[in-house]
């Protein structure tokens, strides 16, 4: 019997807003425990939630990128349950009216086909505090409590590990490029829970679903699903029922392992948050959030191809949002140099960043300076090799390319009159070369140019030099 996988994914995205979802304490990571807390975050009696406007703007932007219907009124609900990491004893979320619903995202699969993955809802909520389980006690860090979250729930329209991976990559790209989140799975700022079940092909019923947690990379999303589909298929083929349970992905073993059997689902006793009266979102507000949204990767891709990159090159540039925005700055200076910028960014600049383990935002070479460097190459003021030397100095000093070239005497001499003098002088020094040239030995040109380069330490323009050598030899 052949089975097909039915996969649904819930993604939690931590927003990098300045302050928390409902309080004014700052959002930041890796700070000393319990230093980013206000009375509301620890649920002091009498504190009340104030909705973070930027979080709403972010949610609108991501909803729009996912082609969702955006609610024109904000409603929040309480999800009630007791847990040690839940300060208030309830989480403020959007149960009845998520800000976004009924969307989709298209993903391109490795076989070239495009798959549309449907998304049921997007809503805002708040994060819990962080627990550190020690041997016989648990520590609580409330820094994370109240961090704004976006939860994106797909419909069960995903059919394979690859589709799932591409879907998570697409969501990640959207939240990263809209500047909503770091989207770092390995650090937990993008977390995903995957529901996997299988059923015979052609069936319209759902099988028993298994939830898989602890997926810290998109590659692991694919691995976990592939493993889980195999596991469930094996069970069913050997006549064993799939049990409803929660499993986690073990990275070392590359397989899913049982965390807990699903007992009765918790009754969350939802009701509308009485301390937030419904907030009307005007069309202007929504439109403004959308029109001021940073450009998505998919939009950049189109633009990059238009200025002359191949799709592959463009995609490579979009692997890193900061790199892409540096590239955008360059394109603003001279879009005709797209390829040259790309070459530098993916060549010497990337190598430099990797070597020094820094992001491009720490690079001292500004787009303007990079452009001036390329300009000097194009105008033959610098040879490519000289340019690389200049670049190296630019990473230390943040001076303009021409200044550095001047200072280090690297500038290439392209003045024909000056070069002509050197050429004449060199030909005089090597009369044999004239004889050779007349005898039809073109090698003589190369020899002379080489001598001139040696003499000038490579500071004369080789093309002009070569042209003048031929010109003068002909007159001899």
């Amino acid at each position: 019997m052949n089975f097909e996988a039915v996969i649904g994914i819930e993604i939690h995205v931590e927003m990098k807003t300045k302050s928390k979802m409902f309080s004014s304490s700052p959002v930041a990571f890796a700070k000393e425990a319990n230093t980013l807390v206000s009375p509301l975050d620890i649920a002091f009696p009498g504190t009340m939630p104030i909705v973070n406007k930027q979080a709403v703007i972010n949610a609108i932007r991501v909803s729009n990128a996912l082609h969702m219907e955006i609610d024109n009124e904000l409603h929040f609900d309480r999800k009630n349950y007791f847990y040690s990491d839940l300060p208030k004893g309830f989480q403020i979320t959007q149960d009845q009216r998520p800000i976004g619903k009924n969307g989709y995202v298209d993903v391109k699969l490795s076989n070239g086909t495009v798959k549309r993955i449907e998304i049921e809802r997007l809503h805002m909520e708040e994060d819990t505090c962080k627990q550190l389980h020690m041997a016989d006690y648990t520590l609580l860090d409330y820094n994370r409590a109240g961090t704004p979250l976006i939860e994106i729930v797909s419909r069960p329209s995903i059919r394979s590990g690859e589709e799932a991976m591409k879907y998570v990559e697409a969501i990640k790209s959207i939240v990263v490029f809209t500047d909503v989140s770091d989207g770092k799975m390995e650090e937990g700022s993008l977390r995903c829970d995957v529901n996997v079940s299988i059923r015979p092909y052609g069936s319209d019923k759902f099988g028993t679903k298994v939830e898989v947690k602890n997926l810290n990379s998109t590659a692991n999303v694919q691995r976990a699903i592939d493993f889980e589909v195999k596991r469930q298929t094996k069970l069913l083929l050997s006549g064993v029922k799939v049990e409803q349970e929660t499993r986690r992905f073990d990275e070392m073993k590359r397989e899913t392992v049982l965390m807990r059997k699903k007992t009765d689902a918790i009754d969350y006793k939802y009701f509308e948050e009485p301390n937030i009266v419904p907030i009307k979102l005007s069309d202007d507000f929504i439109q403004n959030a959308i029109s001021t949204c940073p450009e998505l990767a998919s939009q950049k891709l189109e633009r990059y191809i238009k200025v002359g990159l191949t799709e592959e090159e463009a995609n490579q540039m979009l692997q890193n949002r900061l790199m892409a925005s540096y590239f955008d700055e360059c394109l603003k200076i001279n879009p005709k140099r797209a390829k040259a910028y790309w070459n530098w960014l993916n060549g010497d600049i990337l190598a430099y960043l990797n070597k020094n383990e820094i992001e491009i935002t720490s690079l001292k070479v500004t787009p303007d300076n990079l452009d001036s460097l390329i300009d000097m190459i194009e105008k033959s003021t610098l040879s490519f090799n000289q340019a690389r030397n200049v670049f190296e100095k630019m990473t230390i000093d943040n001076k303009s390319a021409s200044l550095i070239a001047d200072e280090s005497g690297l500038k290439q001499n392209s003045n024909e009159d000056e070069i002509r003098k050197i050429v004449l002088q060199t030909i005089e020094e090597f009369p044999q070369s004239v004889v050779d040239y007349k005898a039809g030995k073109d090698r003589a040109v190369g020899f002379l140019v080489g001598q001139i380069m040696k003499k000038t330490k490579g500071k004369v323009n080789p093309q002009i030099t070569s042209k003048l050598v031929v010109e003068i030899l002909k007159t001899k």
Partner: protein, 492 residues
Amino acid sequence: MYLGKTIEELHELLVSKKVTPLELTKEAIEALKKDQTNALETLCEKEAIEFASSLIEPEVDNPFWGIPYACKDNFSTKGILTTASSNILKDYVPVFDATVVEKLKAAKAVLICKTTLDELAMGGTGTSGHKGITYNPYDPSKTYKIGGSSCGSASVCAQGIVPFSLGSDTGDSVRKPASYAGLVGVKPTWGRISRFGLFPFAPSLDHVGYFTRSVKDSALVLSLLAGEDLTHDATCSTKPVEDYYSLINGDIKGKKIAYIKEINEGIKDQCIKDKFNECIDILREKGAEVNEVSIDKKILSAIYPSYMVISCAEATSNNANLDGIKFGPRVGEVSTYQEVMINARTKGFGELIKRRFVIGSYSLLSANKEELFIKAQRIRHLIVDKVNEVLKNYDAILAPCSGKVKSPIVNNSDNIFSDIDVDSMIIENHLGIGNFAGLPSISIPVGIDQGMPFDFNLTCKAFDEVNMFNLAYSLEKELNLVNLSTVKKVNE
């Protein structure tokens, strides 16, 4: 010798330097130390004397300068124990002031004490706080209740120790005890006063309220406490605050007042009946139109059960933070977080609270939600629509606060399962309409029967506090019951 004076009177004395804030404070503290009603949670002696000592130069235009006041113990007070009269918070010292406390501090009013309440403001009898029963100062025999949940604040104001005190009103927790204690009790429109720092019982019904001993004083207090609180309470209105005191002119000519037939059918005491007719006559004499209107008894009798469902449902959620991890006692040897929570909540909450949590939780379970919680919400809307319909044609609804002048203290304070007749259930719970609809509502003393005072209530249109004070003032003036207190009673 300054006990039993109103804010207005004390202000005069302070401004003319006949008395200092420190003298007023010391006198109030001495009186509190002799309190026989068990109204006190925490006496803020040191803080009050220190603050009062710093008040030297009177502020002529600030009626609150140097005025002592009391605060119900469910308002957050920075650095001062705040227990909500519950064992689960018996050691809780907040790190911030409630907005109203902050405003009073800025106006240089002197906080003298934190007062008792029914545990976590749930209950209407003044008997369920962790310190036991709070008594009615008008009844030295300690037989009749003062009501609740703002029992302590009602008592100290009725004893004339402070001219005003803060309370909170979720069902009638200010306006009902105001009646038993012969005070003016106010709960303005929902959103008129910031609730930041008020411990939530049921936020959709919760109001900051207060007691005074004159309508004019109550207008002064509202002008100070009202107003937006953008960074702390998103439900708080941004409507401008009016000068309620100056807008009182006693002219009620052409005003239309309704009373509801089905509520008044629950009146048990003849003196209340008589007083009601007298009040109608007074209002008519002053040029107001007074008419009887009718609301289906079925709807009115649903106020109490739907109030219980909604308030308990919200309460179980609001108090889920009191879980023994951040707040509440860590009891015994425990190994799991569940044990921490169960132990703390078992030891920390009184029986009545637990019962209400169970009711609230039960009505929110998905199996029961439609039948209980959603239905209660529908009834609430129905009642709100009915009342607003009446208020479309009338400026106010006049009603007795209770069917009886006095009501005995019973040990088991929650009468959820006791069988009372429908008429009594309606008249004893109708003040909840003001909470359901968030309408401004004031109780004012209208009579004294065998030494026990009683109030009537006026409920008006949303944000029509100006009208509310003006109507209340007109009645107060004619009835000549301004500034009742046990001090005065003794003096007379």
